[in-house]
């Protein structure tokens, strides 16, 4: 591969997307060191196969797909004992406290790490990067209905994990 033109274009991609890619990697992996490794590896792979990027306007989705594949590759040999079945969701209160307290990033990360990757990734993409259902379906190569179903289940799980204690505290305060 000849590098000169590619070098300039890949460096432009780094400039535009490195922070978003790192945050996505952090939400996927849960640790700063792994997120940095994933980010670097994703950009290196993007550079190596830059010719595959046909539409520069789709660079962001392309980079996120590469990073997710890198993550899945690393994940393959790892035990995912911390992942729970999403059916194990507790009761969710009908009404949430108003105003809703901020979600602590640390608590969010702990809850995210309990969700299987197939559910976690669409959730992150949807809330973090504002990817549309169709974008997510395209990236994950799953039907649109699957994306909606996974999002709904993952969201319900997060709601139970993150908001039930808050709602319970709020209810105790009112009593």
């Amino acid at each position: 591969m000849r590098w000169p033109g590619t070098k300039r274009k890949v460096e432009a991609l780094v400039q535009a997307h490195y922070a978003a890619l790192y945050r996505f990697a952090f939400r996927l992996s849960g640790t700063a060191s792994e997120a940095e490794d994933l980010t670097q590896e994703a950009f290196c792979q993007a550079q190596a196969k830059f010719g595959q990027l046909r539409d520069v306007h789709k660079a962001r989705g392309w980079l996120f797909t590469i990073l997710r594949n890198v993550y899945l590759h690393k994940l393959r040999d790892r035990k995912t004992a911390n992942a729970v079945a999403l059916d194990e969701v507790g009761d969710i209160p009908d009404r949430l406290p108003d105003p809703l307290p901020d979600i602590e990033p640390q608590r969010l990360q702990i809850a995210l790490s309990e969700i299987p990757e197939a559910f976690r990734t669409p959730l992150i993409l949807f809330y973090f990067e504002d990817f549309s259902y169709r974008d997510i379906a395209e990236q994950l190569e799953v039907p649109l209905g699957t994306v909606m179903s996974r999002l709904a289940r993952a969201k319900a799980f997060l709601k139970a994990r993150l908001l039930v204690p808050v709602a319970a505290d709020a209810a105790r305060g009112e009593a």
Partner: protein, 237 residues
């Protein structure tokens, strides 16, 4: 629009994937249904809270520089594949050199001289060639038809170099091609055990025959295909 449909459409609304008509119908239902309106409010507030929390990840300082450095390193040609290839070539070169030392290089001139050596077609020329080229005194089998002489040279026979003449006949009585090899042994180096003299030997292959002729000074050991030596012999004028 029923409540189940509305709750499904709320997800699409959040993703901005409803058209004007769908959004209008959805809002109309929410205005009329308190349960769905409360559900929608809950979803909206949770979505907003989650969307606000999700990107709150501090980016390490210097990350961009480290990514650029990693990219630059990845662009550098790696020495190891070249080194491995060079090592392989070197090993192959050494192996080839050693192999070459242990074998003999083919000399085309030798091959040509061997073919040239078989061009003489008279007994005298053959005797001269062995005398001059091989320093071997011999007597050619003059009863053979030298027009059928295919080749001749010295060969190893029981530890000595002896002349061997090969005759080729295109057809005998059976109209089949046949070969005859004549080994010319000097009596000063070889002798025959008594019972072999004048005998014919049939080989196990049943396609070759051995005939021995003792001329006194020289012994002819003849091995031939075909039923007899007659096709190889000079015909009486």
């Amino acid at each position: 629009m029923d409540c189940t449909t509305v709750r499904t459409l709320l997800g699409f609304a959040r993703a901005g994937e409803l058209d004007d008509a769908e959004r209008g119908a959805l809002q109309q239902h929410l205005d009329a249904c308190a349960d769905c309106a409360a559900h929608s409010l809950n979803e909206q507030r949770f979505d907003d809270a989650l969307a606000a929390a999700m990107p709150r990840v501090p980016v390490p300082s210097g990350l961009k520089s480290r990514v650029l450095i990693a990219l630059a390193q990845a662009r550098r040609p790696r020495p190891w594949p070249w080194l491995a290839a060079a090592s392989l070539l070197l090993a192959a070169g050494i192996g080839w050199y050693i192999w070459q030392l242990s074998t003999t290089e083919v000399d085309v001139e030798v091959l040509i001289s061997k073919v040239d050596g078989g061009t003489a077609a008279t007994p005298d020329a053959v005797e001269s060639w062995f005398s001059e080229q091989r320093n071997i005194s011999m007597q050619a089998p003059r009863e053979f038809n030298f027009e059928l002489l295919e080749s001749y040279d010295d060969v190893d026979f029981q530890g000595r170099r002896v002349p061997r003449l090969t005759f080729f006949s295109r057809g005998d009585r059976d109209n089949r091609a046949s070969l005859a090899h004549v080994y010319v042994l000097s009596s000063s180096h070889f002798h025959l055990p008594g019972p072999l003299q004048g005998q014919h030997y049939r080989l196990s292959t049943a396609t070759h025959h051995i005939e021995i002729r003792d001329l006194g000074e020289f012994i002819y050991l003849i091995i031939h295909t075909g039923s007899s030596l007659e096709p190889f012999l000079r015909r009486a004028a």
